[in-house]
Symmetry: none
Subunit: 223 residues, 2 copies
DNA sequence: CGCGTCATTTGGTCAAGCCAATTTGCAGAT
DNA sequence: ATCTGCAAATTGGCTTGACCAAATGACGCG
């Protein structure tokens, strides 16, 4: 499988691997841009784009005229910002919580809500056919279900958890997940969820939602 | 005052301003890279670096061969919850979510965690006997269970939901709830939850937690 | 009217070079 | 011998210019 992601994403991942593998530990200085670019077989501008991505997610620090330094990766200490959740944690949380919420939703699911859900699936299929990322449709599907419970807290929690995936932290990994095949699989699973809701079968809906989010997490990590 | 930050950061901010100001709304396409670079007075590589930063934080989406598009900017972000939720909504949310979480916790409940939970119950009984409000013990009980899953997101969510009850909004109603009898009932229910966890019975724990939080919500509202 | 083809548009990447900040090292003074 | 200061080497910051590849749209053919 050829990696079709943008070069800066691939390059950022390769640098992350160098650090994870231990070639460069926290505090160490990476090779100079010119040298590192040649070593990775990419041009300097492309490497610089990758370095900016790594700088944003806190992997490295760039000091003008000095060098590129590896930051302490395993430390939420210091500032108030604590975004230390791993993708697997995130998807487990979504699987457990959204499965519980959809049980509430299934019982009182209105025809109007079902219509909206069908619309998101159609729009999602359209996005995929046109090679667009159906992120907004995916988001809408999960959010509509949560909102249909009538409890705004459910909607807020689902919304926050969903958006967490697109935080700067997970940006580097994001590219893996968003292939056409992955979205097609997600769409199929959405259809299964909708079918259970149309049948007003809470347990089937719960199972379908749980299955969808665990599979989604697997797709996200497996690449 | 001259801005000494890297050019890509300054440029990213300027593009954010263009979007915030309304020049380009969600879904709109920004000018082509070459044109936008000239318009902002920077080189194309520098603009590209800025665009990567904006792509990572979810402000824009870059489609190869097509253009640069503004994404939905509706993300106040953060876990901060605004007011507007009713107590019944809050307690329903806690009942559903904490019931789902305790199922995960029951499976892998360690003896060490059980010891901590017993300690909170003893401290809670002590507080009640001395006519103190055992709010902290109550909080600790629920939080320890969520933390025992090993998933920090569960702990965060439970924490936020719990603290919501003590927001200014619900302060007026709170007094009714906090009678000695109510706390005694809560303590009894906590004991029932702990018993299910000691038996490592996920379904019994789920039922006990759900029962506790719905009863707690009832006590909160009935006065 | 439908549909395929090709030119245009637009992002993706590379190469080479110069500027600016930092570091380094050596020479001279103490 | 040690300290100081300045210049050269190192390193990141940024620009120009060019070419490739994907997406789009217009045009002409059937």
């Amino acid at each position: 499988m050829t990696d079709t992601r943008r070069l800066y994403q691939q390059t950022a991942d390769r640098v992350r691997q160098l650090i994870a593998r231990g070639d460069y530990q926290a505090g160490a200085r990476l090779p100079a841009e010119r040298e590192l670019a040649q070593q990775l077989g990419v041009s300097r501008p492309s490497l610089r784009e990758a370095l900016i991505a790594l700088e944003i997610d806190g992997t490295i620090e760039i000091r003008m005229g000095s060098g590129i330094y590896v930051l302490n990766t395993t430390k939420p200490a210091g500032n108030g910002r604590s975004l230390g959740e791993s993708p697997s944690e995130l998807m487990q949380a979504r699987a457990v919580i959204e499965s519980a919420i959809i049980v509430q939703a299934a019982a009182t699911m209105s025809e109007k809500t079902l219509v909206m859900l069908r619309a998101t699936l159609n729009a999602m299929a359209d996005d995929i056919a046109n090679t667009r990322k159906p992120i907004e449709q995916d988001r809408a599907f999960h959010l509509i279900i949560a909102e249909s419970t009538g409890n705004t807290l459910f909607a807020e929690i689902v919304e926050n958890l969903f958006d967490e995936r697109h935080s700067p932290l997970s940006a580097g990994i994001r590219g893996h997940f968003e292939t056409a095949d992955s979205w097609t699989a997600a769409l199929t699973e959405h259809h299964a969820i909708l079918a259970a809701l149309e049948a007003r079968d809470p347990l089937a809906a719960q199972a379908a939602m749980h299955s969808h989010l665990t599979a989604s997490g697997r797709r996200w990590l497996e690449n």
